[in-house]
């Protein structure tokens, strides 16, 4: 599939710089970026609660979450886990 991309000035500069740094063609860099995003999205869609458990149990840390999942999902897990644990702690302390 052929695609024409419209990039803003900043993204265009970044792509040109990446081309030099990684010594890859622009098409290859775009393909790889799409592949990475696709895998992260698929992981989050299919295994969101599995990742919550891994993080809750301390099996993976915050950095790993951000590497493996889309940013918004990693953020949701980090914020939600802290709130949920805080709520559970007080519920247990109060004997609920």
């Amino acid at each position: 599939m052929k695609a024409n991309l419209v990039l803003d000035e900043e993204t265009g500069k970044e792509l040109s710089e990446l081309k030099k740094l990684e010594e890859k063609s622009k098409s290859e860099i775009v393909r790889q970026a799409i592949r990475d995003l696709y895998l992260k999205e698929k992981r989050a869609k299919g295994n969101f609660r599995f990742f919550i458990d891994l993080y809750r149990e301390g099996i993976i840390n915050k950095d790993m979450l951000f590497i493996l999942l889309p940013r918004k999902d990693a953020e949701a897990i980090v914020v939600g886990a802290k709130i949920g644990k805080g709520a559970a702690k007080i519920a247990k302390n109060l004997g609920y």
Binding site: F48, I52, A76, V79, G80, A81, G84, A91
Partner: protein, 167 residues
């Protein structure tokens, strides 16, 4: 004579709406808690025809405290819930507002730090303990789906709460 401590829950409109969508409002009478909502929440939620839910207006210093939280970007209903919980010394509120969960994580504020936020799953947990519901995870999924909370802070917080409570 020793007075029996009254169990109080301060609850936000986000959780009330969530429970209503899952047809669970009618079960609140089995909780054994006095349920309180601040005035703004009562207005946000509309007519509360549940006898068990009482509305309480903030007065004096509490109004100032709520205004201070609102000036930091916290919603008015959520701010009033936090101040009311602080005044009643409940230690936590029931709220499922995504924005407030993020603010609790990011903002520095004495009341926000002091008051924990439990979600609708706290109610599910109590109803399960009272044997008013059977399949807690089925209801959990139902609430998440009906409120469009999939893959959100609200889903995570409530999921982690239930897991930590041994479900």
């Amino acid at each position: 004579m020793q007075q029996k401590l009254q169990k109080i829950l301060v609850i936000d409109s986000s959780s009330l709406i969530a429970l209503e969508r899952a047809n669970l409002l009618g079960k609140l009478k089995y909780l054994g808690f006095k349920l309180i909502v601040p005035k703004t929440v009562s207005l946000e939620f509309g007519t509360i025809n549940q006898k068990i839910i009482k509305t309480e207006s903030l007065k004096g210093k509490s109004i100032k405290k709520a205004k201070s939280l609102v000036s930091k970007g916290i919603g008015r209903g959520e701010a009033e819930c936090l101040v009311l919980a602080d005044k009643l010394k409940t230690g936590f509120i029931i709220c499922d507002d995504r924005k407030l969960l993020r603010q609790k994580y990011l903002l520095e504020d004495k009341i926000l730090e002091k008051i924990e936020i439990a979600g609708f799953s706290f109610i599910l947990h109590l109803l399960f303990k009272k044997k008013q519901i059977k399949d807690i995870w089925k209801l959990f999924n139902d609430v998440i789906e009906k409120n469009n909370w999939k893959r959100s802070e609200v889903e995570v917080a409530n999921f982690v709460f239930l897991k930590e409570m041994g479900h």
